[in-house]
Amino acid sequence: MHPMLNVAEIRKDFPILGRQVHGQPLVYLDNAATSQTPQQVIDVIVDYYSRYNANIHRGVHSLSQEATDAYEKARITIQKHFNIQHSHEVIMTSGTTHGINMVASGFTSFLNPGDEIWVSAMEHHSNIVPWQMLCERTGAELRVIPMNTTGELVLQPFYEELSERTQLVFCNHISNALGTINPIEEIIEAAHEVGAAVLIDGAQAAPHIKADLQALDVDFYTISAHKICGPTGVGALYGKTEWLEKLPPYQGGGEMIAEVSFEKTTYAGLPHKFEAGTPNICGGIAFGAALDYLNAIGMDRIAAYETELLQYATSELLKINGLRIYGEGTNKTSVISFNLEGIHPYDVGTLLDQMGIAVRTGHHCAQPIMDFYQIPGTVRASFAFYNTLSEVDRLVEGVKKAAQMLS
């Protein structure tokens, strides 16, 4: 048994980890794309559909009450997990992308030509394209916080050019393509000094770090449940009350209104104003169950164990001739993006798959990073707390074999 985590026991919670791929036991190292789902969460989903599936809010019958209570309990679980002041500051979304678009759309009427939006050089497309669309609508300018070859942000130009014109700053907490943990505390502080709002994309951070959103004093924070052992199709957007009250509603529909007539419609209070339509009820409840599952293990222990996996994998992989890792900062999570010299990442990924090892290859929805390094993409192995040191060994062996076959 590992001193920090009983990984062998934990693995039993994940039915998928028992399966074979191409005749080999699966080694799942694509956790940054989506995490696996423990039986405890699957059970919550089955229980929902088997026992109390119903449309929520305003229903007087018991099923509807039970579903509403469970859904609202999940909202409070999210609130507590991220130390959020009010539960109405937790907006349930369909995922990080939805949350970001909600904010980007909401700022349309607040921005003017000449205003500036800053975004980091290592963003996921979900945290670039909505702001480009926003700039197109408003005439604001998109500025970029640059990065260096180690895969870390270079804040100096940002600090120097921040000004009253800066209205918004967007940055991911952790880069999905590099694993870098960004210095968001400093970015938030600097942005607030000139009165700019900050949205932090926490999609990659949530599986590893329990962010304290009150301490961070961040204006918006977004996450996706499918990256933290929860189901697909659900996520959450945190927003400070003052911002959520200022922003116009994103979508129109059921749930988000107070009164509707053809002449005049008034919107509901928070959080409902931003939650039009029947939500992903089961997804929301299972999202809460996923956080419960992680907290039962302990986020600190998860992070410590993953760091061990990262360090071991990094040192073993670097022993391979011609292997280069992208993202060499000291402050990073268990994501390793790499390439073998002269070899296309797609080839490596395809051969690893034949060996039962699931990694992601390509631009990881972060083309600007690939352009920066002038590469077509990388092979990305991303580890979760249910991975083992011997799975790292299989990865390393696999990469060696691939290198041999491909050169």
């Binding site: 809010h57 305003r58 007087v60 018991s62 009450q65 509403t68 609202e72």
Partner: protein
């Protein structure tokens, strides 16, 4: 009578019933005998939010005690607010503020206690306590 004693009385009354029908029939009775709010107070700012039916509550101060009146367009809701008013009306603000509300649970209305419940029982209790708080502040100032 003190709030606690009234609450006990209500619990006693409800404990006589064997089934939900008797309980609800009694609640409907109570609703019918509710101290009615006068029509001039049936305005939007006396409305309690979060109820599927409309509930208006008004409070007055008489001899250092808060007197509640209320109405609803649904009779069961009227019964529920009626029970609350019976427990809390004609009491000193400080007593209302410190009063417990467990008796709701004991009279078999537990399911109505969820904050998401469409009848807004939780909102009603909150509103009664808010009125008491306002009068308490007035007394102290």
């Amino acid at each position: 009578m003190q709030i606690e004693a009234i609450q006990e009385e209500i619990v006693d009354e409800f404990s006589m019933f064997d089934d939900w029908m008797q309980r609800y029939e009694y609640m409907i009775e109570l609703g019918k005998s509710l101290p009615k709010i006068s029509d001039e107070f049936k305005t939007d700012d006396h409305l309690i939010k979060g109820c599927q039916s409309k509930v208006w509550v008004h409070a007055d101060m008489e001899d250092g005690k808060v007197v509640f009146t209320a109405d609803s367009d649904a009779i069961i809701t009227k019964g529920i607010i009626g029970i609350l008013i019976r427990a809390f009306s004609n009491q000193k603000p400080a007593d209302i503020l410190s009063a417990k509300t467990d008796f709701i649970d004991e009279i078999g209305l537990k399911e109505h206690l969820s904050p998401t419940r469409a009848n807004g029982l939780v909102s009603m209790i909150k509103q009664l306590k808010l009125y008491a708080l306002a009068y308490q502040a007035k007394i102290e100032s």
